[in-house]
């Protein structure tokens, strides 16, 4: 920046010299002509940073098997534990879960539990006709969700 001003003043000095020599006073060069847009259309620009972008028209893609953006595993304080011996594969737990956390593994022929989304509502435990499910405190498990970063 400084260099520019220096050269500008140099040029001015030169110009002045010439002017003085010629004995004429030259008018300063007129400013650049602004377009109408620049004159009265100064609306600025709007730039939404990438991490704050909302999709066009608030239209989002549909999930396929699970909505990974909203995991609810840290809601539960108990989790259902299944006794595969007692289980009769009646599919009651499967049809009772609002969060579709029970599915049937065809190969293993066992009911499979979705730890990512179970909220621990215990409907499946309450409904199981074979008494194959029981509620176990979440924190009893090694992979149980730690709800507090610091204990009281």
């Amino acid at each position: 920046m400084k260099a520019k001003t220096k050269s500008r003043s140099k040029n001015q000095k030169v110009r002045v010299k010439i002017q003085k020599a010629k004995g004429k006073v030259q008018k300063a060069r007129p400013s650049v002509k602004l377009s109408s847009q620049e004159k009265w259309g100064r609306f600025g620009s709007i730039n939404v940073p990438k991490d704050r972008e909302v999709p066009f028209g608030a239209i989002t893609p549909a999930p396929v098997k699970q909505q990974e953006l909203f995991m609810t595993s840290n809601w539960r304080i108990v989790r259902p534990v299944i006794d595969h011996e007692k289980c009769t594969r009646c599919f009651t737990c499967y049809i009772s879960c609002p969060d579709s956390c029970w599915s049937f593994d065809e190969k293993a022929e066992k009911m499979e539990w979705n730890w990512k989304f179970c909220k621990g509502c215990q409907i499946c435990i309450n409904e199981c006709p074979a008494d194959a499910l029981k509620a176990v405190p979440e924190l009893d498990f090694e992979d149980g969700v730690v709800r507090l970063e610091k204990p009281f």
Binding site: T60, A62, Q67, L69, T72, S96, D99, I123, N126, A130
Partner: protein, 327 residues
């Protein structure tokens, strides 16, 4: 307009068993509904029955806000938010668009299942006008009233389907009004059956009877024309019961006569499950915190209301209940 137009449509087969139900989830895990949410379970069953070739319309309510927080939804099929006031109208627009797009050959797939998933308020209160007009205009779409008996999403306020005597934040019990809610509820299926000549099929369902529910959804979707389902969806937060009892509450509602499972097809009623002996309503109400303030005389009033409703049923032929899986 296009009544005689021949557009291809899927015919959905009845589901014979839980094991035989489609395994694909169209309402996937990952939503901010309450733990044990009845409407969420209902949505899952409806979406499962409808299958992938479906478009849902979601008027504002729990099944909009709780499901789609934030900027993500659990719908594996197309879905659009509508205002709580205009579920029926937006549904009509989508149906009409598909009719003309098919006619103009801009769309060549089978006609999609178009389902409006409105709450009780969005069906018979603020959304009544739009719902009725959709039924009247004869659109080939399904209007579902999922009934959690309150405006739940805004913190449990009374709606026209809230039962007599319920404690909601707009009908709190107090010295002057001991029972809380003094009004008896509207009957949504009767509103539809009563005066809409284009309606083909109306039914009531309950989440405690999932096969019955899914088959009624499929039956409704198979019909050409507007159909209406009134679906009981117990709400642990609003009704104030332990969240593990959601399905139990549904069962008790049917067993006490608070809820009647039936179908109405071409003028004839067909009942889906009539208990041999009805339990007293107190068996249902004792689990729910919204009724604990009620005195003997209020419960008696409720029983009288239910008895009167039940008495109308006994005169009509009853079908055997749909078998539930054995333990």
């Amino acid at each position: 307009m296009a009544d005689t137009f021949d557009y291809r449509k899927q015919i959905l087969e009845p589901i014979k068993s839980l094991r035989g139900a489609p395994r694909d989830e169209m309402y996937v895990p990952g939503h901010r509904t309450c733990s044990g949410c009845g409407p969420a379970l209902n949505y899952r069953l409806v979406a499962k029955a409808a299958g992938p070739h479906t478009i849902f319309i979601g008027p504002t309510g729990c099944m909009y806000v709780a499901n789609s927080s934030y900027l993500c939804t659990p719908y594996a099929v197309s879905w659009i938010h509508s205002q709580i006031t205009n579920g029926g109208a937006v549904t009509s627009g989508i149906e009409a668009a598909y009719k003309i797009l098919a006619r103009k050959k801009k769309y060549d797939g089978p006609f999609p299942n178009i389902i409006c998933m409105a709450g009780d308020g969005g069906s018979v209160d603020i959304g009544l006008q739009a719902m009725s007009a959709m039924m009247y205009r004869g659109h080939d779409a399904l209007f579902i009233c999922y009934d959690n008996e309150s405006y739940a999403n805004t913190g449990i306020q009374t709606s026209p389907t809230t039962p007599y005597g319920a404690n909601t934040t707009f009908t709190p019990p107090g010295k002057v009004i001991p029972e809380g809610k003094t009004l008896f509820p509207k009957d949504p299926p009767q509103l539809v059956i009563g005066g809409h000549p284009a309606v083909k099929y109306v039914a009531t369902t309950c989440i405690a009877y999932p096969l019955d529910l899914m088959n009624k959804v499929r039956k409704a979707l198979n019909y050409d024309g507007p159909t209406f389902l009134h679906m009981l969806t117990p709400c642990p937060k609003g009704w104030k019961f332990d969240e593990k009892l959601t399905r139990e509450m549904g069962r008790l509602a049917v067993e006490t006569g608070m809820w009647t499972l039936y179908e109405w097809e071409n003028g004839a009623y067909k009942y889906s499950h009539i208990p041999k002996k009805y339990k007293p309503v107190s068996e249902y109400m004792k689990f729910q915190g919204r009724f604990t303030h009620l005195k003997e005389e209020h419960i008696a009033k409720m029983q009288a209301f239910v008895d009167q409703k039940i008495s109308k049923i006994k005169a009509i032929a009853v079908e055997a209940p749909i078998p539930t899986p054995k333990a």
